[in-house]
Symmetry: D2
Subunit: 128 residues, 4 copies
């Protein structure tokens, strides 16, 4: 492929494959009626809750080493997958383009947290 073929910048996010895989999975099981945005937002919450539980009693340093234990590493990976699956499903149902959404949000963040002002500063006023 050449620049002439594709002048568009590379996507920051491409989840088309996952979106299709989930859509097929839900269709085959007649789960589409359950996948209202309201329900999917709740499901997302539940999965994030399970992810957070893996870190809740760890120090920050220990949380950085969480992958050293194979069982925990697997659980973290699985919960992150669940979060992404429900997020991509929610985006599909709402027809949200996640690549557009993150581009727009990163641009807004760049305006909101100028480098000089935000450097090394985790105050709520200066960090998302």
């Amino acid at each position: 492929m050449t620049v002439a073929d594709d002048p568009k910048p590379r996507a920051l996010v491409d989840v088309a494959g996952l979106r299709e895989a989930i859509a097929q999975f839900a269709r085959e099981r007649d789960w589409e009626p359950f996948h209202s945005p309201k329900n999917l937002a709740m499901a997302l919450t539940g999965e994030v809750g399970e992810l957070v539980e893996l870190f809740q009693w760890l120090t920050e340093d220990a949380s950085r080493e969480v992958a050293r234990d194979a069982v925990t590493a697997r659980r973290v990976r699985d919960e992150m997958a669940d979060v992404l699956i429900y997020l991509v499903r929610l985006a599909a149902v709402l027809e949200v383009d996640l690549d557009d959404a993150v581009r727009s949000k990163l641009a807004a963040n760049a305006r909101r947290y100028p480098i000089e002002k935000a450097r090394g500063n985790a105050n709520k006023a200066t960090q998302p």
Copy 2:
């Protein structure tokens, strides 16, 4: 397409562009020390909470129509972007390959929810 053209299966998820954009954003602001997995899991929670708030008083049907109001549509899109940004950042910090993670989880879900058994059934025992 033939195997000769593309021996590798297409990725379900490609967030390399976003991962790099966030890494640069954090590096420029010296935010890396704040981005422990523990903290990022908390940040993910906060963003999901903001997303859920947009749906909490809506009926399921109204949640399907949420994009009709431009202001709400924009808020939903922004919150979904925030969730994805923190999830991708967490994956980067933990060196989790999200494409691998969702492939593995989708395969596990297919085993856990066989089509015939799961069809149209939202019982906890038969749906994630």
Copy 3:
């Protein structure tokens, strides 16, 4: 008891018994070092996530009938207890008086949502 003995209005919230029970439970197990506000806020998240999962695929009407199934009723009750336990523990660690806190918040809500304006209205602008 007479007004002269106790001019103070009855508490809206009295969780002193639970607060003591949890403190003893944590002390006996040397868990106090784990109970930083940061960790407890995460634990609270995890428990709320488990509670939400019980409702995520239910219609609103079905969620009202959730207690009809004894197993689900028990799970709901247990998750609500976990949420309350971590909330009360967090309040204890931070020395927050929950009775004061809810009085102050209810008063603020009454100012924010005047009856005539808020009646039957679940718009974000008019409902917490």
Copy 4:
């Protein structure tokens, strides 16, 4: 105090006052139809998310000192009040007795985490 004075054990949790205050608040605004368990569980999520955001970039030690800043202390207190308000409302709607619920859960926790085994141990297998 003797059995004759008080044959009933003191409640661990008494939120009857708050329950009545919220019921009146909702009734006056015709908000009862919005207060399905499903919606209230979502609202609880949103409030916990706001609480977590106050701690997400803090170290554990800094989270212990969060009350030193008056503005943050107030926000923490308000978010904790919101969590308790929605939890008590959910319990009322579902007719869950929170005092019973925490007694039962504390007893289960005591069996699950025997003192000798759990002491100083925050492994997931030995701590809630």
